[in-house]
Amino acid sequence: MLEVYVLIKQVPKSHSLRIDKSSGALIRENIENIINPDDLYALELALTLKESYDAHTVVMTMGPPQAESALREALAMGIDDAVLISDPQFAYSDTLQTTLVIKEAFEYLKRYDLLITGSETSDSSTGQVPYQLSEALDIPLITDIFEYKIEGRNFYCQRNFGHESQNIQVELPIMLRVRRHFNKPRHVPLLGIKKAFEKKIKIIDFNTLNCPDYLDGCNKSPTIVVKTEKFIPKRKNQFIEGTIKEQAEFIKNVMKENGIERQWTGI
């Protein structure tokens, strides 16, 4: 049986995002939390896999205790089991610390064939964990797939590569980072929700793992948030008049003035 892990993160719902002025960090108390939207596509892929292959699906997240509700939601969608990696020691981990803890978790769990992630999180948008984790676990990472099949230990897929597509054959275990809108995440049945709350969630904490002492999120994360600023790109509307040629000339000048002019060299 294939052991399929989906790695998700709980994030604040975008409309309730607020930033603490003094620390520059996101306020995570008393706000509505959801599954990171990109991760829904990863969950959907796992559920689709289960329909065609003999697979056991597990959803995993590293986060505070309240991240449990994101796991319940994934269970409600139809994922079989859930793992919560949580410990005060892991608080404030940056992407590197997160990766290293998750790596330890997989060393501890031992069996895994397919790790699926979304593209990036809506609350920090680095998209780094999938790449780092594939390095840490030393397994291949394939991004942007659109067709796939599994035969024995072989995974065959097609992936987007700019304007081309690549055919890939690779041996499990692997990691997949799926693109947004790669599929259509299913709606959650009410019965699924009911059953999700009857399941037991496996908790992995600092002591469960044989953590080397550099895995201490608060103190060992190399990332420092210096400042968080609201950034609003400034736009200006301007109507251009004249013949097509004059208009083109005008635009060229604007580009030149702003240092974005490029000479068209042809192919």
Binding site: R72, H187, P189, L190, L191
Partner: protein, 382 residues
């Protein structure tokens, strides 16, 4: 006392909201305009167990608590009140009584199809000469050997044109008042059932409302629901449950109108400021928010009493009376806040207004709700 929803209830609210916004929002204006029950929507609702929200898992239901039920209906109604009506009638006055008073055989026979939504249910009591006076029905089911022969007619049947399983109130002997009344399970396939035209109506136009005519329908005795002479009691107890759903529906409509209003009032500029900065508007919003909260809490209270197996006739009448009243008022205020735009069909405000009205009428008018509340408090249930 705890005013927090459980994590499960919160998840239900969020997921039913997402579902409604994805699937119901695009069809709501269409079915309203075209006076059409949407089978496609009915199929989507099957996928999320909306036709068996509280039925036991054994039959394929989601076996949820009554507050979760109210949340589901509210969230559906917030986007499409007609769909909420179809769903709540099916669940609360169609499937529920069969689960509550049905024999094992009846449950086995009907509940799987009802929980899955393969079959839709209706509950029909109202007749041309019997509305609020529910004991005044004239449909007649005369006993003959091992069956009853049903004749008569019903009006204003929700799900009338789409239901396969229909609960019918009928007299089995000529008598005055609430006696001699039975509740019968009529199946669509039975000979002698005629379905009238779809009623053209002010609101809830995505719900199929029809008359039903019974011409010598042979109903086997195995299709009596509960004890034969308990028909009236079953109907009244069923409506106590149904009203929680209707009240939740009213809250959903009000909530939608309120959300539109807040957004609009913040964005609409007149006299160089958002109209939300005029007290005439902001106080309306404050009233709306307060009324909705109060109505929702009354709904949850009735739902909770039901789950605790406490009497809840009064609570259910109160929540329906209050929620339907504020829904009508709030949808009207919402149009006022939107000015002329609110009156146009481009925005859904006029639909909310039209949809809200009937919550004060069906499953007992507001006058009848007050009658019930008064009876209960005067009886000593202060």
């Amino acid at each position: 006392m705890n005013f927090q929803l459980t994590e499960k209830q919160k998840l239900i609210r969020r997921r039913i909201r997402t579902f409604s916004e994805d699937f119901l929002a695009p069809v709501a204006p269409i079915i309203d305009r075209e006076l059409k029950f949407s089978w496609e929507t009915a199929r989507e609702l099957k996928k999320i167990n909306a036709w068996g929200i509280q039925l036991p898992q054994k039959y394929g239901g989601a076996e949820l608590d009554s507050i979760s039920y109210a949340i589901c209906i509210e969230e559906i109604a917030r986007v499409c009140a007609s769909t909420a009506l179809n769903v709540t009638v099916h669940n609360s006055v169609g499937a529920f009584p069969i689960y509550k008073w049905g024999t094992e055989k009846q449950k086995e026979k009907y509940l799987y199809d009802l929980a899955s939504g393969n079959k839709i249910a209706a509950f029909t009591w109202t007749e041309p000469n019997a509305g609020s006076d529910a004991g005044g029905i004239e449909s007649l089911a005369i006993e003959e050997d091992d069956k009853f022969i049903l004749n008569g007619s019903k009006i204003f049947v929700t799900n009338g044109g789409v239901a396969s399983i229909i609960l019918v109130g009928a007299k089995y002997q000529k008598s005055d008042g609430n006696h001699g009344i039975g509740t019968f399970i009529v199946e669509k396939e039975m000979d002698g059932l005629e379905i009238g035209d779809t009623e053209d109506k002010l609101g809830m136009r995505g719900s199929s409302t029809t008359s039903l005519y019974f011409h010598d329908i042979e109903i086997p005795k195995t299709n009596i629901l509960g004890r034969l002479d308990d028909g009236f009691k079953i109907a009244m107890k069923t409506l106590n449950v149904g009203r929680i759903g209707i009240a939740a529906q009213a809250v959903g409509i009000a909530q939608a109108a309120y959300e539109y209003s807040v957004k609009y009032a913040k964005g609409r500029i007149q006299f160089n400021k958002p109209i939300s900065q005029f007290e005439g508007i902001s106080f309306k919003l404050a009233d709306m928010a307060t009324d909705i909260d109060a109505a929702r809490l009354l709904v949850y209270k009735a739902a909770n009493f039901k789950d605790l197996n406490r009497p809840f006739a009064k609570e259910s009448a109160m929540c329906k009376y209050y929620a339907s009243k504020i829904a009508r008022e709030i949808t009207q205020k919402a149009i006022q806040i939107h000015g002329g735009y609110g009156y146009m069909k481009d925005l859904p405000l006029e639909r909310f207004y039209r949809d809200s009205k009937v919550t004060e009428i069906y499953e007992g008018t507001s006058e009848i709700m007050k009658l019930i509340i008064a009876q209960q408090i005067l009886r000593g249930d202060l």
